[in-house]
């Protein structure tokens, strides 16, 4: 029973750092941009937040710095894609290289250190051992319905989705595709970096090179699974979080299987998710996804 409780509790915790980048990518893809650089943004966020938290002894400042850096870094991507009409996948991979490198540079002095972490608050009562989370977990789960509301029930959301479906039509409707894409990229940058920050100053309290372990790419797979819907993204993130915790629990129980095999679980699961839900996305996936928009003239 307590095993089950700790599994569910852990799944929610580990869902948060993947939910942030997934939500950001949902919004960014809804504007028509695929960003493969999430992994880099997450690493950047993880290392910078850790460094700032270590130096200032304030984890919140760390999260703030991460968000700011993620925003700026993703604006580079958006500039390349929107204004320089760069290939989206290549630009995303460039951003990935950038994040991997920068995070290694920033985090170098802090490998093996411990930093201030975010405070934890219980979900039910104060006695429970489980379901105690830092505020970012709550933020992630509140953000998802909020973004759903913005995307599907507001004027701005309508315009944003129109840009992702057909920027020429959106332009004809008086929307600036460039502006909307910058906004989408800014939000995605912040969220991806905050997701990374949540790993380092929210969950582990440490920094190690490459600590996001491909979560940026898994988030992209989850976007496909979620059918570009923030509410379904919660489900995807929980499934992934559950897989991570399941694997951690198996290792803790000393099951006689190599840790390497168990580490594969989330990746194999992600590929399976793609296989099962990655097909038949016509009229679901934003129609202009990945295309270069050349403007009206």
């Amino acid at each position: 029973m307590s095993w089950l409780l700790s599994w569910i509790s852990g799944a929610i915790l580990y869902a948060a750092p993947i939910l942030f980048p997934t939500l950001g990518e949902v919004v960014e893809q809804r504007t028509g941009m695929v960003n493969l650089g999430l992994e880099g943004l997450m690493l950047l966020g993880a290392s910078l937040s850790f460094a700032v938290s270590f130096v200032t002894r304030n984890a919140w400042l760390g999260v703030l710095a991460a968000g700011g850096a993620g925003l700026l870094a993703n604006l580079i991507y958006a500039w390349l894609v929107v204004h320089r009409r760069a290939h989206q996948l290549a630009a995303g991979l460039a951003l990935m290289f950038f994040g991997i490198g920068m995070s290694a540079l920033i985090g170098k002095p802090y490998v093996g250190q411990m930093a201030a972490v975010l405070p934890k608050y219980p979900l039910f009562g104060t006695q429970s051992l489980f379901f105690r989370y830092d505020p970012l977990v709550y933020v992630a789960f509140v953000l998802a319905p909020l973004l759903w509301f913005v995307l599907f029930c507001t004027r701005f959301g309508l315009k944003l989705r129109a840009v992702g479906e057909n920027p020429s039509v959106a332009y004809a409707a008086g929307v600036s595709p460039a502006l909307v894409r910058y906004i989408g990229a800014a939000l995605a940058g912040v969220l991806a970096a905050v997701g990374g920050a949540h790993l380092s100053v929210g969950i582990t309290g440490t920094w190690s090179e490459g600590m996001t372990a491909g979560r940026g790419f898994i988030a992209i797979a989850l976007v496909i699974f979620s059918r570009w819907n923030p509410l379904r993204a919660i489900v995807g993130a929980l499934v992934f979080g559950g897989a991570v915790v399941f694997q951690l629990q198996l290792q803790a129980m000393g099951v006689g299987v190599s840790a390497f095999i168990m580490d594969m679980i989330p990746y194999v699961l992600t590929v399976l998710v793609l296989l099962l839900w990655g097909r038949g996305v016509r009229y679901v996936a934003p129609a202009s996804l990945g295309r270069v928009y050349f403007g009206a003239e």
Binding site: H87, A104, K108, M264
Partner: protein
């Protein structure tokens, strides 16, 4: 008329290239400076140790071997319209299967053993690349995301063997396999570290250059990449080409992997690649799948990779810092509107 003269053909591109280099070095210099390093000294050291020093230069050339192969591993699928970001994983799987052949087929004559090791390495990479190739050809999943995810799986598979069944008992400290037998090692040239892998890389590059532009299959592959709809309507086996391009690409990346093991490290261990697969992707993108460009860019990236090690030693920077430099290069290249897609 004026524009078609030497100014337009040579002077302007050269000037632009120069400007690009200055911008990249400038920005990276600022990063180094912000980290409390002396960028000028760093650049001087790197240049002195990797270009002017013959030993250093030969190391750069040695590094070109895996880069040529992984770049081809990206270029061939690229010509078929596929984005293979999985050369890193294919590299690891090539190393794995090649090592298996090296350790488990004793007693064979040297030449035969080595050939089998090479084939096994190519098979490992090919098999790993066939997965995303098949999934894409069936129209199930886009190859970009699957190749990326498989990059994270491959080291885990290698880790399982290196830490588990294949671990050499005599070296408890470092998880790695026993040393490859001499019959499975790549021959080197006159005592340098320049090995068979480099010449195989050149050989395949020449083969690629010829076949892609002149042969029937090259034209077919490019047609599939250029307009799959038209290719299908012309009766070309589009799906077969998609899988084949991935498989050939994966085989070459796998060859790069086993070459590193059998020529440089002598054993399979976790740290056999400083990101050669990703660098190969970068090389191909900079060269736009042009064979001569691949040769040139492989040298450039090999130089940068070597510089990464120099910086690691002289400036105590983490090796991953070269990723920043490579990102800056890619940013700059992408920011320049090339205007055109892949050339046929």
């Amino acid at each position: 008329m004026l524009l078609s003269g030497w100014r337009a053909r040579i002077a302007w591109p050269l000037l632009r290239l120069l400007l690009t280099v200055v911008i990249i070095l400038g920005v990276f210099g600022v990063v180094l400076w912000a980290l409390g390093k002396d960028p000028l000294k760093a650049y001087r050291d790197t240049f002195r140790l990797n270009i002017l020093n013959p030993r250093g230069l030969s190391e750069v050339v040695v590094r070109m071997a895996p880069l040529l192969l992984t770049a081809l591993g990206v270029a061939i699928p690229f010509r078929a319209g596929l984005i293979n970001v999985g050369a890193e994983g294919q590299f690891m799987m090539g190393a794995l299967l090649g090592t298996w052949a090296a350790l488990n087929l004793p007693g064979l004559p040297a030449g035969l053993h080595l050939s089998l090791v090479i084939l096994a390495g190519m098979l490992g990479g090919a098999a790993w690349a066939a997965i995303p190739g098949l999934l894409r050809a069936l129209g199930w999943v886009n190859e970009t995301i699957t190749t990326l995810l498989l990059n994270y799986l491959a080291p885990l598979v290698v880790g399982y063997f290196v830490f588990g069944p294949w671990r050499a008992p005599e070296l408890a400290m470092y998880p790695q396999t026993p040393e490859l037998p001499p019959s499975a090692r790549f021959p080197t040239l006159f005592g340098t570290r320049l090995h068979l892998g480099f010449f195989l890389g050149l050989f395949f590059l020449l083969g690629y250059a010829y076949l892609i532009s002149r042969s029937r299959w090259g034209l077919e592959l490019r047609a599939v990449g250029g307009n799959p709809e038209a290719a299908r309507r012309l009766g070309l086996p589009v799906e077969r080409w998609l899988v084949l391009a991935m498989v050939i690409g994966g085989a070459l990346a796998g060859l790069a992997g086993i070459a590193e093991v059998a020529a440089i490290h002598g054993r399979l261990k976790m740290a056999i690649s400083p990101g050669y697969g990703f660098m190969g992707f970068l090389v191909n993108w900079l060269a736009f799948a042009n064979p001569f460009g691949i040769l040139l860019m492989a040298f450039l990236i090999a130089f940068i990779a070597s510089s990464g090690f120099t910086l690691q030693i002289t400036q105590r920077l983490p090796y991953a810092a070269v990723n920043v430099l490579m990102a800056l290069i890619l940013f700059t290249v992408l920011a320049k509107p090339l205007g055109k897609g892949v050339k046929g």
